[in-house]
Structure formats: C-alpha cells, structure tokens
C-alpha cells in the first residue's frame, strides 16, 4: 500500500442479508422475550459492568438482531451476570438469560467450527 499512501477500507454498512443471525436465532428460540426490547437503555444505565466499560446490553441486543456478532463476542465476556438489568427492564426482557445464551451460542458455534 505504501505505493499509494492510502488504503481501501471496508464499508461500515450493516449488510443485513449477508450477516449471520444464527446466534440470535439460537437465543430467540430459547428466550423469545428478546423480541420485546424497545431499546430504552435502562439495562445499560444500571449495568454493573457498564460502570467500568463501554459494555451496553441495549447495543448488544440490537447488534445480535442485525447479526453483527463479532462486536458482541468481544464485549459480552465482560458481563458479570448480576441481573440488575433484568430487574429494571420495563418490558420484562429476561436480559440475564440472553447474555447467558449468547455466550453459550458463541461457544457452541465456535466449537462446532473447530
């Protein structure tokens, strides 16, 4: 690239149809309450981990739904499963189980990939 002094960067666009939503399907099958999220952000606001890092459950929900799994894969490891999010959710989303299942899905699919 030094030949040009600049590079060709990948588009930031979420290509919905190209993305892999197997993780969110896995979760929805077991925890349909994920559908109820209205992205109010209450969970992220109270989040114990969010107090220290940029981890946002709200963001995670949406990225999972869009199949943007890679970002979630990294961040979700910082969740402490303390369950405050479930207590504050106005829509009764079982957020704790969603995190739990997401981790599980990643683990399952990773190990299958191996």
């Amino acid at each position: 690239m030094e030949k040009f002094g600049f590079t060709l960067s990948k588009a930031r666009v979420i290509d919905y149809d190209a993305n892999d939503r197997s993780v969110v399907d896995y979760i929805l099958k077991r925890e349909p309450s994920l559908n109820l999220c209205i992205e109010c952000g209450c969970c992220s606001a109270t989040c114990t981990t969010g107090n220290f890092t940029g981890f946002s459950l709200r963001e995670m929900n949406i990225l999972l739904k869009r199949g943007e799994n890679e970002q979630v894969r990294k961040k979700i490891r910082t969740c402490m499963l303390c369950g405050k999010c479930s207590l504050v959710c106005p829509r009764g989303v079982n957020t704790r189980n969603i995190v739990f299942l997401a981790k599980q899905a990643f683990q399952k699919f990773d190990s299958h990939a191996v």
Binding site: F4, G5, F6, T7, L8, S9
Partner: protein
C-alpha cells in the same frame, strides 16, 4: 411501470435550454485529462449544427475546487463568477453553457444565493467593480453542456454511424449513467429530470440505442469529494466510495459508464486502475474494467468520430472492448500518434488495452 413513473417525474423537471448563441466556459480538468470532450462539443455545435458558441480567452477557472477544498471563500468565488458574467456581457451573450458540473453547481448555488439574498448580489457587483472596473448581468439562460447535448440527442441519433448496440448479438449495450452530485442534487430544478431520477444522460443513452441500468448505489457519489481527495491520507475514503459504487453495479455487467462531470469521469476511470492494482478487483464482464466515457466522447463515437481523435486513449481504462462491441474500426498504430504522425510515448499499466 418503471418508465411511466420516471416519465411522470421528468415531465415535472424540464428546464429551458437555449437554442443558439452560447457563451462557453470550459472545465479546468476536462481539457487537460479528456481533451477530446470539449473539442468534440465545439466542433459538433459549430460545424455540425452550425450554432454560435463563443469562447473568451480571458475566462479563468471558477475556483470551485479551491472553494470545495475550503481554500477559496464564498465572496471570492462569487466575484470570480461575476467576472465571467461580465466577460459574457462584454462579448454580448446572454446564454451561458458550462462544461463542468462543479462549475455548474457553483453557478447555480451563486444564482440562488443572489436570488434569496439580493444584498450579496449588490456586494458582489461592488467587489467586481472595485477590483476590475467591470459590470455584469445575470445570464438569461444557463445550461450545462450535457443539457445541450441532451437537447440535440435526437439530431445526433439521426446522424449516428454506430448505435449503442452490440453488433454481434444485436443486444443494446448496458449503460451506467453517473450524474455528478453538483449537477442537480443541490437544486433539482436546474437538472433535466431532477435529482432522484435524472434524465440528462439516460435520455442520451436511450436515444442512441443503449439500455440504462438502475442499480442500488446509482445515486452514490463517485468518490471525488474534493477534501477527501486533496489530502493524500484521506484518499482511502474517496477510493472506498468508488469501490462501493462499482461493486453495486458489477452484477449488472455494464458495458460502459457515462458521466457528465469531469471529476466523476476522472475518478471512476482512474480508481478502477487503483483498485485493480491494490486487490486485483475488476468490475466489468469477464474480468475487464468498465470504460468510463464523457457524454461528448460517447456522442463522438455514435457519430463515427475516430476514437483517437476523441482522446479515448488518454483514459486509464481503455475503451477497445467497447469499440469492439459497437463494431467501430480503429487503428492500433495510430493510437499514440500525433496529428502529424509523430509517435508519442506509450503509457504503461493501461487497462483493457
């Protein structure tokens, strides 16, 4: 459904295009990168249609690139444009024909500004007078030269020697039309067919037998973006936008890209080379790159001009594949010969050659 719908929109966006007596203002980069284009326009207007097209040697750049590069302030560029109007007045013309979409955008922007803020107009008159002692009138009719070619597209079709049809298969050629953002996106009423479904180039392509393809990123910028290009470290943005656009049109297997903007033409042409060089991607059918032509160059081909007189050899993406499809004879030897037959140095890395 599609065409009826578009016609309906076009009917709402028809603009007055003068018929004769044009004051012609050139484009800075076209005359250096694609010299055949303006050459053809003048030749076609004067010698084929016998129109009066006047050029004033004291005409300068509109400083649009400087303006969009945040170097030239608005008051300055207004004065520069005012000077052009003054030159036009002095040469006794009322219809301005602008060869460059960037300039065209600047002119429309300035005219709109003056309309909504007359005080700016007065200031500009004052600046110009103080600086040059000149006075000016606002043109009665302002057209981009692609508007004018659009106006006379059927005359060209009538005189055509080669149509946009694949000689072998008889299929119409698939044309991607790319309208420069500054042509109508700012002020749809100044563009033939408006901003969303412009007709100025598609009209030509269809009149000359081609088939226009609509693809998801049709409206997307060519990637020039002035500032993004002018700073080397930022050129990645420019390049990435062009790549996005081409990968969106790739499935349609276009035979050529038709542009009406010097910048677009340059970037869609040269970035194809860069992308190919960087990661080996090409966007045309069977591994070729897509020739990018200006409307004058295409009109020239349709009317049977010699491709080398039109300066097609000065593109990064060579147009031989297109010429073959259209069944146009060309002479390999003459390709890089001057008029008086001297051999010019042959550039390396040409694509499609």
């Amino acid at each position: 459904m599609e065409n009826e719908g578009k016609k309906k929109i076009w009917s709402e966006y028809q603009k007055e295009i003068a018929d004769d007596h044009f004051f012609y203002v050139r484009s800075c980069i076209r005359q250096s990168f694609y010299p055949g284009s303006e050459q053809f326009f003048l030749d076609f207007m004067r010698n084929v249609l016998g129109k009066d097209v006047f050029e004033n040697p004291s005409h300068t750049t509109c400083t649009g690139i400087g303006y969009h590069g945040d170097i030239v302030p608005f008051s300055t560029i207004m004065t520069v444009v005012a000077r052009h109007f003054a030159l036009m007045k002095e040469s006794g013309y009322k219809n301005i024909a602008i060869s460059c979409v960037t300039s065209f955008g600047i002119y429309t922007e300035i005219l709109e500004t003056w309309k909504h803020f007359p005080e700016e107009l007065e200031k500009t008159r004052e600046y110009l007078y103080k600086a040059t002692g000149r006075e000016f009138d606002i043109p009665e009719n302002m057209a981009h030269t692609s508007d004018i070619i659009y106006k006379f597209r059927n005359e060209i079709a009538a005189k055509s020697k080669n149509l946009l049809i694949n000689k072998k298969t008889g299929e119409p050629l698939r044309v991607v039309e790319h309208i420069g953002c500054h042509y109508a996106k700012m002020f749809p009423k100044f563009g033939v067919g408006g901003a969303e479904f412009p007709n100025v180039l598609s009209g030509m392509a269809e009149a000359w037998g081609g088939e226009v393809v609509d693809y998801p990123e049709r409206r997307h910028c060519c990637g020039f973006g002035f500032r993004q290009y002018l700073i080397q470290a930022n050129r990645g943005y420019s390049l990435s936008n062009t790549a996005k656009k081409f990968s969106s049109m790739k499935p349609f297997k276009p035979d050529l890209v038709l542009t009406n903007c010097p910048g677009c033409n340059m970037f869609m042409d040269k970035w194809q080379y860069t992308i190919k060089d960087m990661e080996g991607t090409t966007y045309g059918a069977d591994g070729e790159s897509i020739p990018v032509l200006t409307y004058e160059e295409l009109a020239g081909l349709v009317m049977g001009y010699n491709p080398w007189d039109l300066g097609l050899q000065f593109h990064m993406v060579q147009s031989e594949p297109l010429l073959r499809k259209m069944g146009i004879e060309y002479n390999r030897e003459d390709k890089f010969k001057t008029k008086d037959g001297r051999q010019m140095p042959v550039p390396k890395n040409l694509i499609n050659a």
